[in-house]
Amino acid sequence: MNTMNPSIAAKAGAGEQEPAIAVPESRPEDTVIEEGKTVGKPFAGDADSPKFKLRNVSVSYGNDRAIKDISLDIRRNEVISFIGPSGCGKTTFLRCLNRMNDSIEICRVTGKLMLDGEDIYQSKKDVVELRARVGMVFQKPNPFPKSIYDNVAYGPKIHGLANRKSELDEIVENSLRKAGLWDEVKDRLDAVATGMSGGQQQRLCIARAIAVSPEVILMDEPCSALDPIATAKVEELISEMSESYTIVIVTHSMQQAARVSHRTAYFHMGHLVEVNETNKVFTAPEHELTESYITGRFG
């Protein structure tokens, strides 16, 4: 672990897979964003009291600085996507938001990270409580090798959210309904979760995350291991969930960023190059690095 490459550490062993069939690699000639067409979604929420207020955040793995002095506000109930070439630090940055980097010993985070005005990296902050408020969905579907029911019920159980079995049943049903999985699995809640298809597993992981009623959901390339149909379902889900949650999504697919997010942040070599309304980022990028990336000149 001593000489871990930051990009490897951040990816935690998962392969770089794009949903190649559905979303072709963007090249100049087939750029997603056609002239004059509006992408992204208008944000109706309050932009003045941010959910996350991040100031001068730097992350280093040993002597490697993976994130360099990033400041960013994440608004309440918005969907913000992080895009950028591999190794640019977007996943590392995402994992700072619920302190998932804590388990990497050589990882050091500096700067101010405020969730609702409270510093999440202060020493007395309880990381368990933080993660109950900031849920996470990972790149590779990672259901527990238990039943579907137990997967969803696990979070509420350990946080003591249900006093009775009936309450727990209700939470499980609601979460699975929100994740659009209820109709598919209601007859086999006792089945082992790892026996489901990849797309179902990922939606189960989303159901598991929302079962503890978090305020923020972090998604680390949630569709990179899924086929186009499953991807479409998850994206639909993200759009629905944006009404009640703040969602931060890391994606390699610009089309996905364009489809689901209100705002888009472009990362490059550990710097936050540009963050703006998704529409603006894709139609009129301010920075030439952003433009090069979204037009497919690199990345």
């Binding site: 990672n142 090798p145 979070g155 992981c205």
Partner: protein, 424 residues
Amino acid sequence: MTDQTQQAERVRRSLKRRYRKESRFRAYGMLAIAIALGALAVLFADIIGKGYAGFLKTTITLEVDLDPEVMYLDDPTDPKQVRMADFVAPLVAAADDALPGATEEDQDALRRLINPYASTELRAALEQNPEWMGTTRTMTFLAHSNVDVYVKHEDDAAYSIKLSEQQQAWVDDLVERGLVDTSFNDVFFTNGDSRDPAKAGVLGAIVGSLLTMIITLLLSFPIGVAAAIYLEEFAPRNKITDFIEVNINNLAAVPSIIFGLLGLAVFINLFGMPRSVPFVGGLVLTLMTLPTIIISSRAAIQSVPPSIREAAEGVGASKMQVVLHHVLPLALPGMMTGSIIGMAQALGETAPLLLIGMVAFIVDPPTGFFDASTVLPVQVFLWAGSPELAFIERASAAIMVLLAFLMSMNALAIWLRKRLERRW
């Protein structure tokens, strides 16, 4: 020729070479397996060939005349006198009656056809059934161990040297008349050790092994698993934990007799624990097994996919919940397999137990953890060193019992692993 066909030709040639290499490699593997299986087959054939007779006992059926006069009894109704009576005389007389050719001078040779403990059995039978006094009864006694091996190995001259030619003729005669019987040796499984091979059994050693293993399992599994979990999940990576890790790995390679010396010096001399008891044996074997269990448990923990850990952390599980709810259940099959392999090693261990006195000659099976006893491998060691052929035979039989023990433990390990294994 074009470049492409040249290339294809080259590939074809290299392919041939590769296939040759592959089949050679496969042949080496098969040879290795064949050697291993061959060695195993020779071992088993030898042990079973030598030891199967240990599972058989020889008995002699005699018409015993319980005449008070023969037993030198003045008053056959006095229990005190009956206890002191001569019970060898009626046995010898019965053998004499059964063998018409025997004379007065042959008394000693006749006596040595029957097991030395037969008189004790006869007395016990008579004390239980006083009404037998003065009657003639048909009774079955264990044969003398020399007769035992002679009957079981008729074809092998090596087994007859302890019997005189006359004795051999008598035994042959008795066999012919159907008075000598060979049957399953229940005595071997119901008795402890004995000076007389015909009366010697493995019960004491089995119980001793069982008690020792219980102590070893109860101590080494929890301690080993706890140590592995701490080292893998909670301990900071620094010089001290590195030092501990190196030492655990070294301990796994320490000769077991060193652990015996340690047990002798610390548990017995320093703490004043009793000698020869399963409790101390269990402690010593725990020390010996711990490194194995810790190492295999750590490997099992490491093999739990990090994604499961992240998933649990992601929904807000605390460190301990991650370990108890997710890591431990997934690592448990591996931990158990490692532990049972460690236990199997401990079960076959002799050297450290010799040093803490579990090598003593103990007749009665132990009744508790602080009762002097021996264990199966030590029992094998004791019998194998005996000059008597009948004991050598029993050593082989005891080895088979030990192997059966080990195989059932391994079967248990496989069963547990299959039952607990989960996909992820």
